[in-house]
C-alpha cells in the first residue's frame, strides 16, 4: 500500500515538472523553446571606483518570447582588475579602464561593454585652493568620495579623513613659519594615525590622498609654500593620542 502511494507521488511530480516548464505568460518560452540570444542591461555604463551596480540579463527564445533566465546564468568579467561581477550580476568598479561584462546560459552568450570610470575624472578642479566642502568636515567633498571609494573600515576611513583634513589646513593656512610648523605637526599626527590603522599600507593611501588633493596649480603652489615655511625646523615624533 505504501509502495503504491509513493509511485503516485513520483508520477504526479514528474507530470507537473514536464507540463509546468515555460508555462505562464505569453512572453515565456514554450517547453521546447531554446535560448537563441541574451542581452545584458545596461548596455554601457559608467561605475565609480568602489561603487556597485546591478546588471540583468534577458534571454530570447526560439519561439520569439523573452524573459529573464532564472537559472543557469554564469556572469563573468573580462578584467577583474577593472571590475568584478558576482553570480547575481552585481558589478563592482575596482580600477579605471574598460571591461566587458558577459553572461552565458548554456552555450549562448550575451555581453555588455562597460566602462569603469576613474576617480580622477570626478576630482574638483575649481580655481580656488579650498574647493567644495558642503558637509563642512574640513575635507573637500571629492576627497571624501575618494576615501569612501577605498572601501576600508570605519576607523581606517576616519584616520584617512583626519590626514586629509590636516593636509587641507596646511595648504589653506600656512602663511608663515609659525603656522606652517603647527600645521606640519598636525599633518604628522594624521600620518601617524593612518599608520596606526593601516600599518604597511598607509603610504599607499596617503600618497593618493595627497596627489588628488593637490591636483591644480594653485593647490600645488600652496603646498610648496607650506613645505617651504615648514622647512629648516625640528619635529619630534608625535606621541600620546594621535587619532582624534
Amino acid at each position: 500500500m505504501l509502495y503504491r502511494l509513493w509511485f503516485v507521488i513520483v508520477l504526479s511530480l514528474t507530470l507537473y515538472v514536464v507540463s509546468g516548464c515555460g508555462n505562464g505568460s505569453g512572453k515565456s518560452g514554450t517547453p521546447t523553446a531554446a535560448v537563441t540570444s541574451i542581452t545584458v542591461s545596461p548596455g554601457s555604463t559608467t561605475i565609480l571606483m568602489g561603487k556597485q551596480q546591478q546588471f540583468s540579463a534577458t534571454a530570447t527564445y526560439s519561439d520569439g518570447s523573452t524573459k529573464s533566465p532564472s537559472t543557469g546564468t554564469i556572469w563573468s568579467s573580462s578584467n577583474t582588475a577593472v571590475a568584478t561581477v558576482d553570480g547575481s550580476g552585481l558589478v563592482k568598479g575596482v580600477a579605471p579602464g574598460n571591461v566587458t561584462i558577459s553572461v552565458a546560459v548554456g552555450s549562448v552568450n550575451g555581453t555588455s561593454s562597460t566602462k569603469v570610470e576613474t576617480v580622477l575624472a570626478t576630482l574638483d578642479r575649481s580655481t580656488d585652493v579650498a574647493g567644495l566642502d558642503k558637509d563642512n568636515n574640513g575635507v573637500r567633498d571629492d576627497i571624501d568620495q575618494v576615501i569612501a571609494g577605498f572601501g576600508l573600515t570605519a576607523s581606517q576611513t576616519k584616520a584617512l579623513t583626519q590626514f586629509a583634513a590636516a593636509l587641507q589646513v596646511a595648504i589653506l593656512s600656512s602663511p608663515d613659519r609659525s603656522s606652517a610648523y603647527a600645521n606640519a605637526m598636525e599633518l604628522h599626527r594624521g600620518q601617524e594615525c593612518v599608520f596606526s590603522q593601516l600599518t604597511a599600507d598607509s603610504t599607499k593611501y596617503t600618497k593618493q590622498i595627497k596627489a588628488f588633493t593637490l591636483n591644480t596649480q594653485p593647490r600645488v603652489m600652496a603646498f610648496v609654500g607650506f613645505s617651504h615655511n615648514a622647512s629648516g625646523a625640528v619635529y619630534p615624533q608625535p606621541t600620546g593620542t594621535i587619532c582624534k
Binding site: 595627497k210 596627489a211 600645488v220 613645505s227 622647512s231 619630534p236
Partner: protein
C-alpha cells in the same frame, strides 16, 4: 624617617628638573634620540614617512633605555620647483592635453599609482609623465651643487645644531641618520657641535650621500650600486663617496622608485640588501654611543 623624607622630596622635585629623565632611567642614562634628516624633493609628509621607517626598526627602547625620534626637515624647494616648472611648460605648450597636476607627485615622491590611473584612462599622458621624470633626474645634480650656497642652508643648519646641542645638555646619546642631500646638512651640523662633545655621544648613519666625506669614525656609509640619482651627481660633480652596497637592478630602472634612490621605497625596503647594511651600521653606532658628559 629623614631618609624617607629626603626620598619623597627628590621624587617631588625631579619632574621639575630639565634633567629629570636622567635620574629616572637605569644607570643614569637618559636614553637615545634618533634623528632623521631628509633628502632631495621630500615634502613634510615624505620626510615623516622616513622617520616612521626608522622608528619601525628600534621602536621605543634600545639597550633597555628609551628611544625618541625627531625629524630635521631640510628645505627641498629647488628640485620640486624644477618639476613644477616643467609641468607648467608642458601644459602651456600642449593646449588641451591636460592640467592634471596630481601627476607631478609620482615623480617627486616615487611610486606610480596616480600616473597609472591617469594613463589607464588616457594613454597619451604617458609621455608627459616620462618627461617629468627625466626633468627630475637631469636637475638633481645642479640642485645638490648649489645646496650650500642656498640662503636657506645655513639657517637650517643652525636650527639642527641647536637641537643637537640640546640633546647633549639633556645627556641623550644621538644617532643622526641622513639620506641624500640631508647628508650635507648633517655634516655641517655635526662639524658645528662636535667640538663641544666630551664623549662619543653623537654618531651618524649616512645613506646615499652626495657629499665627498662622511662623519662615521670608520668612514662607513651605505650607497646603493643601482642608485641612479647618486650616479648622476657623481658624474656631474665628481667628488662623491662611491657606491658600496648591492642595490636592486630592476627597481632602479623604474622611475617609479625614484631611480633607485628613495629612502623608504629602496633603502629601507626589507626586500633588498640595503636595509640590513643600514641596520648593521646603526646597530654598531648605537652600541658605541656614550652618554654625554656634563
Amino acid at each position: 624617617m629623614l631618609k624617607r623624607l629626603s626620598a619623597l622630596t627628590v621624587s617631588v622635585l625631579l619632574p621639575l628638573s630639565p634633567l629629570s629623565s636622567v635620574a629616572q632611567t637605569p644607570g643614569g642614562a637618559s636614553g637615545y634620540v634618533i634623528v632623521y634628516i631628509n633628502g632631495l624633493s621630500t615634502d613634510p609628509i615624505g620626510a615623516q614617512d622616513g622617520l616612521d621607517a626608522l622608528s619601525a626598526l628600534y621602536a621605543a627602547q634600545y639597550n633597555n633605555q628609551p628611544v625618541s625620534y625627531t625629524l630635521f626637515y631640510t628645505p627641498t624647494d629647488g628640485l620640486t620647483q624644477d618639476v613644477i616648472n616643467a609641468f607648467a611648460q608642458r601644459v602651456q605648450s600642449t593646449p588641451g592635453l591636460t592640467d592634471r597636476w596630481e601627476l607631478i607627485w609620482d615623480t617627486l615622491d616615487g611610486g606610480g599609482t596616480v600616473s597609472d590611473l591617469a594613463i589607464a584612462e588616457n594613454p597619451s599622458l604617458s609621455s608627459l609623465v616620462s618627461d617629468l621624470k627625466t626633468t627630475f633626474l637631469n636637475d638633481v645634480s645642479s640642485n645638490v651643487k648649489n645646496l650650500t650656497s642656498n640662503k636657506e642652508f645655513q639657517p637650517a643648519v643652525d636650527q639642527f645644531t641647536s637641537a643637537l646641542t640640546t640633546y647633549y645638555t639633556q645627556q641623550k646619546k644621538t644617532l643622526g641618520v641622513a639620506h641624500s642631500q640631508g647628508n650635507v646638512y648633517l655634516n655641517a651640523a655635526y662639524d658645528a657641535v662636535k667640538p663641544q662633545l666630551k664623549t662619543d655621544s653623537l654618531r651618524t648613519v649616512q645613506v646615499a650621500t652626495p657629499a665627498a666625506t662622511v662623519r662615521d669614525p670608520q668612514g662607513r656609509y651605505v650607497t646603493s650600486t643601482t642608485d641612479l640619482v647618486i650616479q648622476a651627481v657623481a658624474l656631474a660633480l665628481g667628488n662623491v663617496e662611491p657606491a658600496n652596497t648591492d642595490g636592486p637592478i630592476l627597481a632602479a630602472l623604474s622611475s617609479d622608485t625614484g631611480y633607485g634612490h628613495k629612502f623608504v621605497d629602496i633603502y629601507m625596503n626589507p626586500n633588498y640588501k640595503l636595509l640590513p647594511a643600514i641596520k648593521a651600521l646603526a646597530d654598531s653606532n648605537l652600541q658605541a654611543l656614550q652618554t654625554p658628559a656634563p
